[in-house]
Amino acid sequence: MKRVVELIGPPLLVLLIVVGLWSLAVRVLGLPAFVLPGPARVFETAIVESERLTTGFRNTLIASTVGLAAATLVGVFGAVILSTSRVLERALYPWAVVLQTVPAVAVAPLFVLWVGPGLVSVVLVAFIIAVFPILANTLMGLVSTDPALIDLLRMQGAGRVAIFRKIRLPNSLPYFFTGMRISAGLAVIGTIVGEMVVGRGGAEAGLGYYVVFSATQLKTDFVFATIIVSTALGIAFFLAMVGLSSLVMGRWHESELRLDR
């Protein structure tokens, strides 16, 4: 419990200070609400628009989860394939880098053309943005193994599969989770970007759709509420990955040590 307070306390304090400053700034500067609405007004709008925000949260959550899951599957599978052969790695890795640099917003309209609008297109955008960190980090974890350990296993007649299972795979876990932590946030961002340009409206609208929706109607307070809910979702995704990683390897990985001292 004490550890939880130590962990959450400082950032929470910063949050309170920022909200306080925000509230003060609005009052002192006398800014019109549509330029910078105060926290109270944003909160009030969030209540009024709670139905849209709930719908948006749910749809964005679904799309982000599917996008991240797809990125994880393809990223890990891709990393395993690339780790099996230097030639494959050299042939394919540059293309993975290219994939990462493709502006997802720009190709989103093509997804609409190919797979139709809505969830699939949005998920594809999230996938494209989220897949690379998982692939790159997992690959690094798979290949950056202790060569002495590999020698040791080879001397006992271990084959590629045994070396993969005993050494490479567990060795890649911390790298994989580093990738997951980056990609979790990216999946949410990708989803929201996708929703902004190719997302569905109505009951299937996500938070990204409402970002544009509220901005079109000059409702800055609604824009703020949407951004805050989106950010909360991103943080939730990040924390889920942190929790998952310490659950899986909290006992041994160096980066987790600080927590149990």
Binding site: L152, M155, K166
Partner: protein, 259 residues
């Protein structure tokens, strides 16, 4: 497994003939090496850094292949678990406990879990780590990690024990303590040992024979037999010990001058 009688029939465990190892046309690591290690011997390889002594050990282990010449391990070639190798650092898997680290190589040999567990526990007891079975590497000191590393190899009951500067990274006190414990282990189990070190004292203290390797390209400068039968802490201060060390050092310098 090879029957014990067969092994006894040929007392030579390692046989190296006219061995040469090149890394490229210009870089010759080892040249004209001839060396035999007999059963129960403790042979140390000493030489200046970069002389190729670690390379020689890797060739004996079969981790690398000679450019020309022969390396044979009569009677134990192709017998799984018959050769044990220990590196300079512990090289433990951080995600496994001490016991599970010791079990690693047994898993490769498909030894059932129950037996693996029992043998790992025994091996840890032999290196003095009883009670630390469930500790993770990060909870152990450098010396303790090295003991786990030794146990990981000992558990295989190897016929030939190859060690590449295993205590080089440890402090003096820990190192001497490990030297004694290690001697006890090899003596009690009659292990044949090939030991690479850059410490003359360590080599003389542990070995029955010290092989001095010259600067690159590595060749055998000389072999110095070690006369003592008893090892104890006070030995390092006796005149014979100091004299033997002086001979080894002398030979070492000769090897460095022969460039």
């Amino acid at each position: 497994m090879v029957a014990a009688s067969e092994i006894r029939a040929d007392p030579v465990r390692v046989s190296i003939r006219d061995l040469e190892k090149r890394f490229s046309q210009d870089v010759v690591a080892l040249r004209g090496i001839d060396l035999d290690v007999e059963e129960g011997e403790f042979v140390s390889l000493v030489g200046p850094s970069g002389c190729g002594k670690s390379t020689l050990l890797r060739l004996v282990a079969g981790l690398d292949h000679p450019t020309s010449g022969k390396v044979a391990r009569p009677g134990i070639d192709d017998v799984p678990g018959s050769v044990g190798f220990v590196f300079q650092d512990a090289h433990l898997l951080p995600w496994r406990t001490a016991r599970r680290n010791v079990e690693l190589l047994l898993e490769i040999q498909n030894i059932p879990g129950e037996e693996r567990r029992r043998r790992a526990q025994e091996a840890l007891a032999r290196v003095g780590l009883e009670g630390f079975e469930d500790a993770y590497p990060r909870q152990l000191s450098g010396g303790m990690k090295m003991r786990v590393s030794l146990a990981r190899t000992l558990v295989l009951d190897p016929q030939l024990f190859l060690l590449d500067e295993p205590f080089g990274a440890l402090d003096e006190i820990t190192r001497e303590k490990l030297n004694d414990d290690f001697l006890e282990l090899t003596r009690s189990s009659g292990l044949t040992t090939l030991f690479v070190t850059h410490s003359v004292t360590e080599a003389v203290y542990l070995s029955t024979r010290v092989v001095v390797i010259s600067d690159r390209p590595g060749t055998v400068v000389d072999e110095i037999p070690v006369p003592f039968t008893e090892r104890h802490r006070g030995l390092r201060n006796t005149p014979e010990f100091v004299k033997t060390c002086a001979v080894v050092s002398e030979t070492l310098y000769r090897g460095m001058g022969e460039r």
